[in-house]
């Protein structure tokens, strides 16, 4: 197949300039890890539900009736899925992007009061206070919620509370799908709290556990910026 020379190399000057500007655009660095966390949460929710059905077959019946109403389609993702993105995706994509999204402020990552189901998109309304303590009641936050709260506390300059949320995550999900993300945030929390020793130890542990991590570069950069002992 004859490939024409790309316009960014052969077009008129304006075409070149615009296309090069388009090529240079990059997403926020954090956006990738947020997407990883959200996608893993979906994987985790789906696995947990399937596991529950294996243990309690009657749940499948319950699930079927609820699915018929469309009530939990998006929350659990157990509906029939095509092997390629065909027309069946339309329903799922009918509720997609709000073009009136509020600015991305840290608070938008906080939990809404009473939130129980995992939320792929950050709830923006009625956030719990940024400095809320880790939950001590019977409510069970999702991994994603705990990680989000840990990150918010970090952004708000409260690494102690970040570590409290991370400890809560470790307690509730010792083998959770977001352990890698939690470990990365922990390194940063120790570094920001000024606990150089703990930050180094956490970074070393991270490198040992997740040698091929997409967060590896960031963790190495944090470790390199720590003051010498």
């Amino acid at each position: 197949m004859n490939e024409p020379i790309r316009l960014s190399a052969s077009g008129n000057p304006l075409a070149k300039q615009l296309l090069l500007a388009g090529k240079r655009e990059r997403p926020r660095r954090e956006a990738r890890s947020e997407a990883i966390a959200a996608a893993l949460q979906v994987t985790s929710s789906r696995r947990s539900w399937l596991s529950a059905v294996r243990r309690r077959p009657w749940l499948a019946l319950l699930g079927s009736s609820l699915l018929a109403t469309g009530a939990i389609v998006s929350a659990i993702g157990l509906h029939h899925a095509p092997s390629s993105p065909g027309p069946a995706l339309e329903a799922e994509l009918e509720r997609p992007i709000s073009f009136d999204v509020p600015p991305r402020v840290p608070e938008s990552f906080l939990l809404a009061e009473g939130t129980a189901a995992p939320s792929i998109r950050a709830p923006a309304a009625q956030p719990r206070a940024a400095t809320a303590a880790p939950p001590t009641t019977a409510e069970r936050p999702t991994e994603l919620e705990l990680l989000r709260n840990a990150r918010i506390a970090l952004v708000n300059g409260d690494p102690t509370r970040t570590l409290a949320w991370l400890d809560e995550h470790t307690n509730l999900y010792p083998r959770g799908a977001l352990r890698e993300e939690a470990a990365a945030v922990r390194v940063e929390a120790h570094a920001r709290s000024g606990d150089t020793r703990a930050a180094r130890a956490a970074a070393a542990r991270f490198a040992e556990l997740y040698p091929a991590s997409p967060y590896g570069e960031r963790i190495r950069s944090i470790a390199a910026s720590l003051p010498r002992p």
């Binding site: 990883i36 994987t43 985790s44 947990s48 243990r55 994509l93 069970r140």
Partner: protein, 191 residues
């Protein structure tokens, strides 16, 4: 194996084995394809402030269906979802008359927007998007994959799951449209 009682029943909260393979793949696909998906969404018309959420949605859909997507079809699947998201976004904007500004392209480069301003990256991208908005989505998708993501034509044929001849003809039409638009804009800018 640890478990917890919830209103939905007894859930496995460890599931180490099940986690590893699926989660590893999802993590890897998001890591490798995030920039491609995000930039494709942007160039197919998703505004910057909505692109993060849109990309997240694309990967959540992938995560939900990952078991049914063959490894060699991942990019095809992702771009298919990207196109649908972009298509819905277009429809959504078309329903809002205040956003449908037919004169937007013509009014972009005017006497007050000289060549110096066009050098500014953000403005250049806004202009690029205005020009891409003039193309139908099928041409725009091929143009974005070839000119901006630098895929080869055979790769595009695979990603879009269409014959090579169709890719070639769409690309030719898209390039002609783009060059004609940019030439017209240049002319007006320097007039």
């Amino acid at each position: 194996m640890a478990s917890v009682v919830t209103p939905a029943g007894v859930l496995d909260v460890t599931g180490e084995k099940a986690t590893s393979a699926a989660a590893l793949r999802v993590r890897q696909v998001v890591s490798e394809q995030y920039d491609f998906v995000w930039r494709s969404l942007r160039r197919l018309g998703i505004p910057e402030e909505a692109a993060d959420d849109a990309a997240q949605q694309v990967f959540c859909i992938f995560a939900r269906r990952a078991a049914e997507v063959a490894a060699e079809k991942e990019k095809t699947f992702l771009f298919g979802v990207v196109i649908r998201v972009a298509h819905n976004a277009r429809r959504s904007r078309a329903r809002r008359p205040e956003v449908a500004d037919d004169d937007a392209l013509a009014s972009m480069p005017t006497e007050q927007a000289g060549p110096e301003e066009l050098l500014e990256e953000r403005r250049a991208r806004a202009l690029l998007d205005e020009m891409l908005d003039e193309m139908p989505l099928d041409l725009r998708a091929v143009f974005v994959l070839y000119e901006l993501e630098e895929l080869t034509m055979s790769e595009i044929a695979k990603v879009l799951d269409m014959p090579s001849g169709t890719v070639a003809s769409r690309l030719r039409r898209a390039r002609e449209a783009f060059e004609s638009l940019s030439a017209g804009i240049r002319e007006r800018s320097y007039r």
